[in-house]
Each structure stands twice: as C-alpha cells, then as structure tokens.
C-alpha cells in the first residue's frame, strides 16, 4: 500500500545555543540563538521518507511561522512538497494545531508524523491536539513504526526502558521519540532537487490563543561549587575530593 504522509516540522531555536531572556522579559533574545529543524522533527521527516521509500506514496511537510529553511531542508532530504503557514503562534500549541488543521483541510492523508515535542518550548502538544481536532487515533513518543495492511504497528516509550506496543488503523497521527532512526544528511543532489519542488504558502485563520506569556526568567538554582584552574590543577583538586570520600 502506498501512503500519503504529512509531516509537521518546526524551525526552532537550539537549546544548546545562547539562551537569554529578552529585554521585555516576555521572551527569548534572538541574539545568540541558533535555529534549525527541531531535533524531534528531523526524526519524523526521516521516518516519513523511509516509509515512502519502502511503500511508495508522497511526503508533504508543513511548517508554521518562519519555517523556510527547515522546509527546504526537508525537501532536500526527500519530501515531495512543502506547505508554509505564515503565523506567529508563539508558545500556543492550540493555535499551531488549529493552523495546521485549516491548512491541510484540502489534503487527503494516511498518516501524520510529528516530533514528540519542540526543542524550544517543550510543550509536546501540537501533535496530539491536532489528532483530537481531526478525531483520528494517535500515539506519542513512538520508537518504532511498521506499516501493515490498512494499519500501523507502533511501540511507544514508557518509563524505565519499557515500551508499549499498539496497532492503529489509518489515518492516524504519530509523534516520534528521538532515536527512532538515524536521520540522513542533506546531499548536494538533494539540495539541487529541492529547488524544483513546490513550497506553497497557505494563510489561515487560527482563531484566538488560549495562553499568554507573562514572564520568562532564569530558574533560581543553587549552583555547584566551581573548581577552577588549569586542567592539571583541576585534576589535582578532583583527586583530593575523591580521596576524601574514599572513592580512590
């Protein structure tokens, strides 16, 4: 069976880049931030392309907000076409899901894939809210997907190394956990081919948001005692600590 797959991809700030509170105290300073495809979505697009390579079909990638670079990356990886929704939904996942629902209203699909969460706001909401709005079965934090006739078999991640196997009839929505596959690198050929692929903009009315940011701030934490000096001095101090504790 061939599958038409929609993938949700976010262009998101890397939490490993320089994160500072913005001057108004309600957001994050753009300066120092490094943006790329949300790490979880990188696994989602890879999974979609793999399913297409094995079973045939089409992969359509959808991005909300400024997503051009990420959408082009997905096209270069192997997605067939892209839909960009110009909307700043900020941290409001309900708005994001509503925007996607409106933008894909004319699309048919067998499967929607998304990352478990975004690496910046970590809500883990857009996928499951969209599934609820579309009234289709879903599973989150999935670590393996296999396609069977008219359905998919997935394992989702539980706590403590356990997993949970489920089957879902299609159409369904899946959010993937990181590590589900090994995402491919973008090839020069891929980038060339991506230039001829469709990137369509669809404007939608996503309605009102349900949350509003009041304040963003640095968590108050009791910090570790810092050990400073040259690597040799640090090593010496560490060895002292370990000796004192009877660890060596």
């Amino acid at each position: 069976m061939t599958l038409k797959i929609i993938v949700l991809a976010k262009h998101a700030a890397d939490p490993e880049s320089e994160i500072h509170v913005s001057a108004d105290g309600k957001g994050v300073d753009e300066k120092g931030l490094v943006f790329d495809i949300n790490d979880w979505d990188r696994y989602a697009i890879e999974e979609a392309i793999r399913i297409k390579e094995e079973h045939g079909g089409e992969v359509v990638v959808v991005g909300v907000g400024y997503a051009d670079d990420t959408l082009r990356k997905c096209l270069a990886m192997g997605a067939d076409r892209a839909i960009k929704i110009p909307l700043d939904s900020g941290m409001d996942s309900y708005m994001t899901a509503m925007a996607v629902k409106e933008a894909i209203a004319d699309e048919t699909f067998d499967l929607i894939l998304a990352g478990l969460m975004s690496q910046d706001y970590n809500n883990a909401l857009t996928g499951p809210i969209l599934a609820g709005m579309l009234d289709i079965p879903y599973a989150t934090a999935v670590t393996s997907i296999s396609v069977e006739d008219g359905k998919i078999r997935v394992v989702r991640e539980l706590e403590g190394g356990y997993g949970e196997e489920n089957t879902l009839p299609l159409p369904a929505l899946i959010t993937v956990q990181s590590g589900i596959n090994e995402p491919r690198y973008v090839s020069i050929m891929g980038i060339k081919r991506a230039k001829t692929k469709e990137l369509k903009e669809i404007s939608v009315d996503a309605g009102e948001g349900r949350i509003q940011v009041e304040k963003v701030y640095v968590p108050p934490v009791e910090k570790a005692e810092l050990i400073e000096g040259s690597p040799e001095e640090i090593a010496e101090k560490l060895v002292e600590i370990l000796k004192d504790r009877g660890l060596i």
């Binding site: 939490p15 706001y121 970590n122 883990a124 706590e159 356990y162 990181s178 968590p219 570790a224 690597p231």
Partner: protein, 319 residues
C-alpha cells in the same frame, strides 16, 4: 467552590507516587472546594484506599477492558464522569501516558491545557509555571478564562503531603465504545552486559562527547576509577552507547557513590535518573547548563582538557 480532579497513575500493578503529588497540589489550590482523585483500571480497591488518605473523594472507574491503558478509553470514561461532576481543574501526571491522553481530554472538554507544570496559581487569574529550553528558562503563562482547565504536572515537585480522609465512590462508568487504537503488549527492556544501576562509580557522557570515537576516553576514565560508562539520551539516540546504558526517566535510575557527568547539559528527564547519587561532579562548557544545579562540584570547561589530565593524575596516585 473549586473542584480539583487528579487523575491517578497506575502502572505495572502499582500506584505511582506522582498520584499523591497531584493530590498535594490539588489540596493546596482547592480553597473551600475539593480535591478529588480519579483512578482508572481494574481491581482498584487497594489503590483507591491509598488515594482516599489524600483526597476528599476518590472516583473509581473500574472495568476489565480498562486493565491496559488506552488514551481513547481513558478520555471516553473521563468525559462521562466530567459531564456529571463538573471539574474546574484536571491534574494529570506528565508521564508517558498522562502526557499522551491529556491533550485529547483538553480538546474534548474545550479546555486550555498547559503541560509539565511546576507551579500553579489561581490567586489572580490562572497562572501556570513551566520550564522551556530543556530546563534553561522558566515561563509563567496566563491561561485564558475557561469553564475548566487541564494541566499535566511534573513529577517530584509537589512533595508536601496533605492528609485528608475521603470516601471512595464507585462511579459505575464503563467505556461507551471500543477504541480505534488497540493495545498489543508491553515490551520489556533489553538486558545488557552491565547493569549501570548496580555500579558504585558511573562515568556518564552527553552530547558534549561529540563523537562515537570519544567514548573510549570515558571508558579509559571509568577503568581507572573502577566504574562503568553510561550516557544521556542524545548519546543513546546516536547509537554511541547501547540503550541499557541510558540514565534518565526513560532509561535507568542510578544512585552511585560517584556520578561523573561529562558534557551532559542536564535535561529534567536525565536529572531524574541520577539526582540521588551520593556525589555528583559535572564538567560542561556551558556555565548555564542545568546539570550544575544538581552537582556538588562543577567544572566549566572542555571535557577533552579535563578528562585526560584527570586520567593521568589518577594513574599517578594509584601507581
């Protein structure tokens, strides 16, 4: 009169302690209202009794078909309960399962949802606090006024116990339809050659180790110290270490005498797996890395400078 409902978590035949934490929060915010627990599954009397020590009322939703978790069935029975007993606030654990079914419940209740909260304040509007950027920042969000609200709650936060003697009520509710998604079975963790949870010394590596070939450096240090090598999620995801070496909520919980965190930023999911170690020493380039919040000693620097120097020094003193 606020009615706060806490959905208990039962997994592997046990009541998860996070269920009591939800009730601690429910009792703290209920005011003149009530803290009510809901427990879903099969053979629930024992769990319901335990929950009743912390709740004004415990609703049992019991049926053979609810033996195994299914998000559609959970939401089905909860909607039946909530159409009768109007909740103002619904608290759900931010566990793998709770985080999965909560958004569907929120959509069906037309309620706003905020996930993974660490603070909740109803004194002036509705304000929820949560971490963003994997623990680097906190955000207070104001939630739009609504008939009801859904929150998923981070484990380990609301520890102040509140004792209430409540009654257990059999809701009589059964699932109204069979779900589209079907539960097949539980997948057991793979057993590896070493059990990192049994080791006295754990040398743990994160994204900062940069490449599979650098794992050797950690192995060398572990060997000198007589410990084992473990890793955080990104290292396992990249396939640089096997899954049974993963420290964190979705991997293993370790409490060694020494936990050496090398290039680990310290996402919450990792910290929950190692915070009770006797001694935590962290090396990370980023002074803002959350790992320094749980470590006793921290080194802001490059692990590739510090680790070789430490190996050399250890060899010297050990002869």
């Amino acid at each position: 009169m606020m009615r706060v409902f806490a959905i208990a978590e039962v997994s592997s035949g046990e009541l998860d302690p996070v269920s009591i934490e939800l009730l601690n929060l429910a009792n703290a915010i209920k005011g003149e209202g009530s803290a009510e627990a809901v427990v879903i599954g099969n053979n629930l009397s024992e769990f319901a009794g335990e929950l009743a020590k912390h709740a004004d009322k415990v609703w049992k939703i019991e049926d053979g078909s609810l033996e195994n978790y299914n998000p559609e069935m959970y939401v089905d029975v909860l909607l039946q309960l909530f159409s009768r007993e109007k909740p103002d606030v619904v608290l759900i654990p931010n566990s793998s399962r709770g985080a999965e079914f909560a958004p569907l419940l929120a959509v069906k209740l037309s309620a706003p949802i905020v996930t993974d909260i660490v603070g909740l304040d109803f004194s002036n509007g509705v304000k929820a606090t949560r971490y963003i950027f994997q623990g680097k920042l906190l955000v207070d969000v104001l939630v739009k006024e609504s008939e009801s609200y859904v929150f998923t709650v981070r484990q380990g936060v609301f520890k102040d116990e509140c004792r209430v003697e409540g009654e257990v009520v059999d809701s009589g509710i059964k699932p109204s339809a069979s779900p589209k998604r079907e539960f097949v079975g539980i997948v057991e963790p793979e057993a590896g050659e070493v059990d990192i949870s049994q080791a006295d010394i754990v040398v743990s590596v994160g994204r900062g180790i940069d490449d599979a070939s650098n794992i050797e450096l950690a192995e060398e240090l572990a060997e000198v110290l007589g410990g084992v090598v473990a890793g955080s999620r990104p290292v396992i995801d990249s396939g640089w270490l096997p899954k049974d070496r993963q420290v964190g909520i979705s991997g293993k919980t370790v409490k060694p005498k020494l936990y050496l965190a090398l290039g680990i930023s310290g996402a919450f999911q990792h910290i929950m797996g190692m915070k009770d170690s006797e001694l935590i020493i962290a090396v990370n380039k980023d002074p803002e890395a959350p790992i320094f919040g749980v470590a006793q000693y921290g080194i802001v620097g490059d692990l590739f400078d510090v680790v070789p120097a430490l190996i050399e020094k250890l060899r010297e003193v050990k002869g």
